[in-house]
Symmetry: C2
Subunit: 125 residues, 2 copies
Amino acid sequence: MSGKEQLSEGINACPVTYALKLIGGKWKIPILWVLSQNGTMRYNELKRRISGITNMMLTQSLKDLEANGLIKRVQYMEIPPRVEYSLTDAGMSLLPALAELARWGTEQMKQYNNKCDIAGGNTSQ
Amino acid sequence: MSGKEQLSEGINACPVTYALKLIGGKWKIPILWVLSQNGTMRYNELKRRISGITNMMLTQSLKDLEANGLIKRVQYMEIPPRVEYSLTDAGMSLLPALAELARWGTEQMKQYNNKCDIAGGNTSQ
DNA sequence: CAGAATCCTTTCTGATACTG
DNA sequence: CAGTATCAGAAAGGATTCTG
């Protein structure tokens, strides 16, 4: 997932497999999600919003996403440097899927918390 | 993602991050997808349908998914052994998200193939 | 048939330092 | 500010062999 693979496979590929080639890996979906929530964002803003990501993985994932046309990178020639990231139209077209995923995640979190309350497992906060 | 982590984090977790804890990694979405397309499936049937997966990853991913309540495993005490996997209700509730992902993947494949046709890159078939 | 075990490779992390 | 470089260690994933 280092931005070097070919996306071909022509016809017989599964659309889900194909989608995961574009947005698979640990950080791409989180990146797309925070971008969808916040619009245009700068590098360090992204880094702050995505808890746990390292410079290396953020840089690499941004590069991959840009190479696949899902995000747009605009660099302003200033001192100090400013670089802004945002979703392209192709990236935007993923939003319904991300929204469904978020909805599902919310639902699952509720289920889990309910179970924990009943089992007395985790009442922290 | 080896089935040992805690899913807690109580409140302040992002629903997308939470969702990815349940279905993140390389093989879980493909597994859920083929199960959603084929209903109940046996181990080797899954293996055949998911190109590239190894025994280890299939076994591990199935265990994780079962532990998180997304799939159901039914083992028949026969010789030769028979084990059937299917989606639970929680697994089913992910279907809208998977369908959106598949739709998006199809869309992106078209875009890519168009670009390739224009550039003369990949006219295979 | 449905895996478990073992060993090996790749990817990711964490910390720290450096650059234009 | 927005990265890049390096390197040790951990984790995820892969390949192969073996078993009830």
